[in-house]
Symmetry: C2
Subunit: 456 residues, 2 copies
């Protein structure tokens, strides 16, 4: 953007508050919420309890425990209504065998590789599959290779772009390899897809995530390897072309499983049928604790409602915490929530926290009119340095609501560390700072309260 335009835009945007009508009492409420969140420090306590259950993958016993924990917790906190809503979710299990071994073309020494099947992947034959490895950095490069990739294991090795300030942008620029790698590999006759973990870190931990298949294209197994192993393998392929890999996975897809979205609410005192959703997804990958992704968003949603009760606030509209099922490999929870007929009820807005329990910087608003309105509330978030209200945002779980016209809003947090942890054994409770987590809960509570009081 040229400077002249920057300056003009900056003036317009920041001049808005001058004309805004923000009742002054909201400022003291906002400060009280954040003070209470920091001092009582409940978010981290909730997250410790939740993470103690273990990873909460869709279809797992732990997910069921986490759903019960969420329900019991919200009941214990005295929310006005707490209930479960049924959802059918995909049920993929990793199995007990995942192994990748590189056979260098020249050297005799085998190189074991840190590997994790991608969620939804088919298994390999029982004794694994073996093939020459061919490295590509893009689907275009793979298509150029064409027949040369036939019968081979396709190794997608384009790193996240380190130069991006927002790591979500870098993630967006690399994750196609994980999501569509198996399809594109099979399209040229490849026998498996190996993907460089989509993380900013160079380490030994593989990061999983969903892989997609097309019904019209043969399914091939797909797995992520650690970034350090990806670099090693890439080096090896330069000096020893013809290097092979044996990949063994015994994951499998079981029939869909019955589970739940978990919901709790504080009823509006004047307009109880107008609802503001605050939510996150309760399921996680089957790695780590799912602390940042998205245990953080769940406990922040619960904490947002708890703060209202603690401060004895009676918002005009209903504020509802939703712990969505199955964001990671199906989005069935978000879809099911939006599909439920709720006669007489209207969703005013939906706010999601699903970018990790990091320090909040503001909100992204995925609706023009809502953006203009919420932008006028920026001053109310300035005291906590979370006053960057930007256009564009939302969340996966609330996207089905957004498609129905409900304004969706995402909590924007500092992104530098998220992908160090994302979808891996690194996503554990000890990587969450209690103050950063609590500030996010405070920001969610403030925005939900403002919308409940002022409407949108």
């Amino acid at each position: 953007m040229c400077f002249r335009r920057y300056f003009a835009a900056s003036l317009i945007v920041t001049a808005v508050p001058l004309y805004a009508q923000v009742p002054a009492r909201h400022d003291s409420v906002a400060r009280a919420m954040v003070r209470t969140a920091l001092v009582q420090n409940r978010s981290i306590e909730l997250l410790r309890d939740l993470c103690a259950i273990g990873p909460r993958f869709s279809g797992s016993e732990q997910y069921e425990k986490a759903a019960q924990w969420s329900k019991t917790t919200m009941e214990r906190l005295g929310f006005d209504r707490v209930w479960l809503e049924p959802v059918m979710v995909p049920h993929w299990v990793r199995g007990d065998k995942e192994e990748a071994v590189v056979y260098p073309a020249k050297r005799r020494m085998l190189m074991p590789v840190s590997v994790a099947a991608l969620g939804g992947s088919i298994a390999t034959p029982k004794d694994g599959l073996m093939g020459e490895v061919v490295e590509v950095r893009s689907f275009e490069e793979l298509r150029t290779l064409g027949a040369a990739a036939k019968g081979k294991i396709v190794f997608f090795n384009r790193p996240m772009d380190r130069a991006q300030i927002n790591t979500f942008a870098a993630y967006g620029g690399a994750v196609d390899q994980r999501g569509r790698g198996a399809i594109e590999a099979a399209r040229v006759g490849g026998i498996a897809a190996i993907v460089r973990s989509v993380t900013t870190r160079i380490d030994d931990v593989p990061h999983t995530g969903s892989v997609g298949y097309h019904d019209s294209i043969p399914k091939v197994p797909a797995a992520a390897i650690s970034t350090r192993d990806a670099d090693r393998l890439s080096e090896l392929l330069k000096t020893e072309p013809g290097t092979k890999m044996r990949l063994t996975l015994n994951c499998e897809t079981l029939p869909d499983a019955a589970t739940w979205n978990v919901i709790g609410e504080i009823r509006g005192s004047e307009l109880p049928n107008e609802v503001i959703v605050v939510g996150g997804h309760l399921d996680s990958w089957d790695k780590g604790d799912g602390a940042h992704d998205d245990g953080a968003g769940c406990v922040q949603s619960i904490e947002a409602l708890r703060l209202l009760k603690e401060l004895e606030l009676k918002p005009k509209r209903t504020i509802r915490a939703v712990m969505f099922a199955n964001e990671e490999n199906g989005l069935r929870g978000g879809i099911a929530y939006a599909a439920v007929q709720r006669p007489g009820e209207r969703h005013v807005a939906a706010i999601e926290s699903d970018a990790g329990g990091f320090v909040p910087r503001g909100f992204g608003v995925g609706d023009s009119a809502a953006y203009v309105r919420i932008k006028t509330w920026e001053p109310l978030f300035a005291f906590m340095n979370a006053d960057r209200i930007v256009r564009g945002g939302g969340g996966a779980d609330i996207s089905p609501l957004m498609r129905q016209g409900v304004p969706g809003i995402g909590l924007n947090v500092e992104t530098q560390r998220y992908f160090d942890h994302h979808h891996s054994d690194n996503d554990t409770i000890d990587a969450v700072n209690e103050r950063e987590l609590a500030l996010g809960a405070g920001a969610m509570a403030i925005l939900a309260y403002l919308i409940a009081e002022e409407g949108l």
Copy 2:
């Protein structure tokens, strides 16, 4: 602040850029600096090397190694001039014995406590000292106790205020207990000062720091205990008044030691005698690695100059990286640097990074005229979300320069996690995120370059 005033202030401040004269080429330089910092990722490599030496306490062998490492590193990077300047520093050594054991008044079970002598403390008698513990939360409370504290160990237990958004404000509200606790304890006849660690975390790690003495008041030993032990001890004192503690420290103060500030610079192409300092302090406490405090600031200062060279920029004015000695327990490095006569030379500004290697949010400017000028450059930091230029700031090491009228500027970073690590065994390289560290280096490089090109 009332809302009317907030809005008015916000309008004035953000309107400034409209009238600013910022050459557009600076924008591409700024982006290139940050891109290079992130992609080449040298800051963390430098910090790993530095931290591998071990803690760099004033007077220690490791400080000497760190000084040599800094010099060699800057020479290897091809800076125009690299040199050492002599400094005499205090030389306190912790000794091999620090022990605190609580003797409950009623129960028979002894309670060992995590303890660390405060820097500068005198030793206890060889077999320790034993005394009844009396808890206070403020110097006022201690003065009210008066004679009742005579002969006792005074336990200062006022926590950091969790409600503060900026943890430095919370630190400022608690650290008097550490700095003046021994003086105030001795003033009422206390025989030692025990201080609750000045940290946001509840854990088992004691956080050290300097203790002061007055020549006119008897010196008594002073030590920090972990926050968890402070809470335990406080509980115990409620139910078992008369509880005692045995404290054993064999720390000692040796004669002052000769050491160095380490300096490297890139000479200005047009005004080489006008100097912008970028710096941090090379000494650390004798706990952890001194990674955040202040290895981060040192490597960011080196990296700022390296980025200039890497991008083949020839700034008009000289940019000088200074690794100051002895910030932690004497400030002798900062004082010595400012005291050196440098004929013909003028310091235009000094920028310090000493708040940890966390994500940068902007700068604090401790000079009114400089603030007004630098504020107009905010748009140049917006792309990296580090555009909060605020009035007030600087750094301990550059404070002697500031007293000579040199505008001092501090890199402001996200503060939530800093005091988890500060002055303790928690301050290690693995607590530093490479991207956050690199972004800080980029911000330092941009501001130093802008001042070098535009003056102040």
